[in-house]
């Protein structure tokens, strides 16, 4: 039984006390209308989530009352700002089950967090022996999966190019899952790092992390998990996941844009070379050279995104109060409902797992007209927008997945804690309308 299934088994989402209509009242934007009085149906949360009032208030209060630079002033505002900034580190650590707050590094987003690890690995070339584990060169291998977001693919392609290492990947099955049949042949003792997505942003697939981590450990490879689409939607415990690094972004979990997190095991961060140099990340600086601060500050060069970090803290408080298990159960119910509902629309091909098992609330599909001709997602999205329904169309920064499934692009509906089954109904009605328009 999967995590979400076991949560559901306890009863309906309502039984957890989760009231979606009440939750929606916390998000001012959900009350607005579009195109002259149409209610907004926001089904694009995998691109970015909406923000609750608590997060907006926290950012405003920070600027109205506490604004100062962090970690450098000795005046009252500086101490308050530093306190708020560092309090989020504690909140995030607790949120993901990290026992050591120094393992939480603030970045700009997931992309920067993943690049941080990739660049640290090539910087290890010119660092002392303590960074040995991060070094790689010709003959070494980097392993990813075919369902990565470009942010967890391109940095590794670039690392391979810089170091001469080889990039390999785990392929996909026809129903959008990782093909683990030849896992031992893909992850060999030449692998130095295995980086994979937890929940695919395009397929919705939730990957079997434990199995891949077990193989990576067997061969001594570092493991990196892209949690951009999982941390906002399900309970996460880094100890349970067993990975070495976890990257995620604030803006998909009700926090502002501009803040993300790299979590890493302290014993690894401690010997990992820095990525960006500058203020705040140093220990002693002379004209000849510098020594670096201990983690996490070694990886937080320059004035950080303070108000966004404060907003992230408020978002973590908000999600924690509602309860991630309850949120996961709600989204699982909406996803299962949507998969059933989409199956009633003729000519709909789901790109990704067809059932709710081990999958999250991002559903990609291709729609066909009465003649069986694919209606391009751009046209689908445009006609849905006319009804006030916001979906994402395109290759979702995962072009290799589109190539794998032989489609130029998909339409994607994605859900969050505030999504209702009524919104799914509106989508389905909208899709019938699109088919009528292009079948006429």
């Amino acid at each position: 039984m999967t995590l979400t299934e076991s949560l559901i088994a306890g009863g309906t989402p309502g039984a957890t006390g989760f009231d979606v209509e009440q939750v929606r009242k916390d998000f001012p934007i959900l009350a607005r209308t579009v195109h002259d009085d149409l209610p907004l149906v926001y089904l694009d949360s995998a691109a970015t989530s909406q923000k609750p009032l608590a997060v907006l208030d926290a950012e405003r209060a920070y600027y109205e009352l506490h604004n100062a630079n962090v970690h450098r002033g000795i005046h009252v505002l500086a101490e308050e700002a530093t306190g708020l900034y560092e309090a989020t580190r504690d909140k995030v650590a607790a949120f993901i089950g990290a026992t050591d707050r120094r393992e939480v590094v603030f970045t700009k987003n997931s992309t920067e967090a993943l690049n941080l690890v990739a660049y640290a690995m090539s910087n290890a070339e010119t660092t002392g022996g303590e960074a040995e584990r991060f070094r790689l060169g010709p003959g070494d291998e980097i392993v990813v999966t075919e369902m990565e977001h470009h942010s967890n693919l391109v940095p590794w392609q670039m690392l391979a190019r810089r170091t001469g290492a080889t990039l390999r990947w785990i392929g996909l099955t026809d129903d959008g899952r990782l093909n683990l049949d030849n896992l031992d042949a893909v992850i060999t003792d030449r692998a130095k790092v295995v980086s994979m997505v937890h929940q695919s942003n395009i397929l919705g697939t939730v990957n079997p992390v434990a199995r891949i981590v077990a193989r990576a450990r067997e061969v001594g490879a570092l493991t990196v998990l892209d949690g951009s689409q999982s941390v906002p939607h399900m309970p996460i415990d880094v100890a349970e996941l067993g990975v070495d690094f976890l990257a995620f972004t604030g803006h998909k979990m009700c926090a502002p844009t501009g803040v993300g997190v790299l979590w890493g095991r302290y014993e690894l961060l401690e010997v990992m070379p820095p990525f960006l140099g500058g203020g705040e990340m140093i220990e002693i600086v002379t004209m000849e050279g510098s020594t670096y601060a201990a983690p996490p500050h070694r990886f937080e060069a320059g004035t950080p995104m303070i108000s966004q970090v404060v907003g992230l803290g408020a978002a973590v408080d908000y999600l924690t109060a509602l309860g991630m298990p309850a949120i996961a159960a709600h989204e699982h119910a909406v996803t299962a409902y949507a998969l059933d509902a989409l199956a009633t629309v003729p000519g709909t091909r789901i790109i990704g797992p067809p059932t709710g098992t081990d999958r999250g609330g991002a559903i990609s599909f291709v729609l066909h007209d009465d003649a069986g001709r694919a209606i391009h997602p751009h046209d689908v999205g445009q006609l849905l927008d006319e009804r006030g329904i916001a979906v994402r169309v395109g290759h979702h920064c995962a072009r290799p997945v589109c190539l794998r499934f032989g489609v130029p692009a998909t339409t994607r509906a994605s859900f969050h804690l505030y999504t209702t089954t009524g919104e799914v109904d509106a989508l389905v009605e909208g899709l019938h309308g699109v088919r009528r328009f292009f079948s006429r």
């Binding site: 391009h376 751009h378 169309v393 290759h395 130029p408 692009a409």
Partner: protein, 180 residues
């Protein structure tokens, strides 16, 4: 429906029954252009003889707007002098950048005026322009083979698509449209 201003019947006709589609020989230049935000792609060939656009042939994938635009564009420029066709391209580009304020000169642009409504939708302007930009690029290479051999400065890296062929071209480089 407001959208009818974008999805003109004439556009849907070209989308359903595209003209001049399919890659043909002979040709002087072939390019491959993509719209990276939505996955629209076009491979386009141009044959120029004595300063006249003798043939434009293409294979493309994309939305109704981009498909219809390729059909309308090729039908419009085939048989025209290169200079006249380039003037049409400038005229069409201006129409697409008008944000819904221009109607377009039907005597000059013929079926292409049907795209006037698209200019109100900044996210879709690139769809309408994709094949025009590909044609312009291919034509420049056809009339000046030296340009075809040299990398185009200031443009994005070539597409990695295997279908790109000999004339793998730059990504679509259209001035960014502001969001409405």
């Amino acid at each position: 429906m407001k959208l009818d201003s974008m999805y003109q019947e004439i556009i849907l006709d070209h989308y359903r029954n595209p003209l001049h589609r399919g890659l043909r020989d002979p040709f002087d230049a072939e390019v491959h252009h993509v719209n990276p935000t939505c996955g629209d792609e076009v491979t386009l060939r141009v044959k120029v003889s004595d300063g006249v656009v003798e043939d434009v042939s293409y294979e493309s994938e994309g939305c109704s707007i981009s498909q219809a635009s390729a059909s309308v564009m090729s039908d419009l420029v085939i048989g025209k002098k290169v200079d006249e066709a380039l003037e049409l391209e400038r005229e069409f580009l201006a129409l697409m950048q008008s944000r819904g304020t221009a109607e377009g000169n039907e005597d000059v642009l013929e079926d292409a005026v049907a795209f006037a409504g698209v200019s109100k939708y900044p996210a879709r302007v690139k769809c309408a322009l994709l094949s025009w930009m590909a044609w312009k690029d291919a034509t420049a290479k056809a009339v000046d083979p030296a340009a075809a051999a040299a990398p185009t400065p200031g443009l994005a890296a070539p597409s990695l698509t295997p279908a790109a062929g000999a004339g793998a071209g730059p990504a679509l480089d259209v001035p960014e449209q502001e969001k409405p």
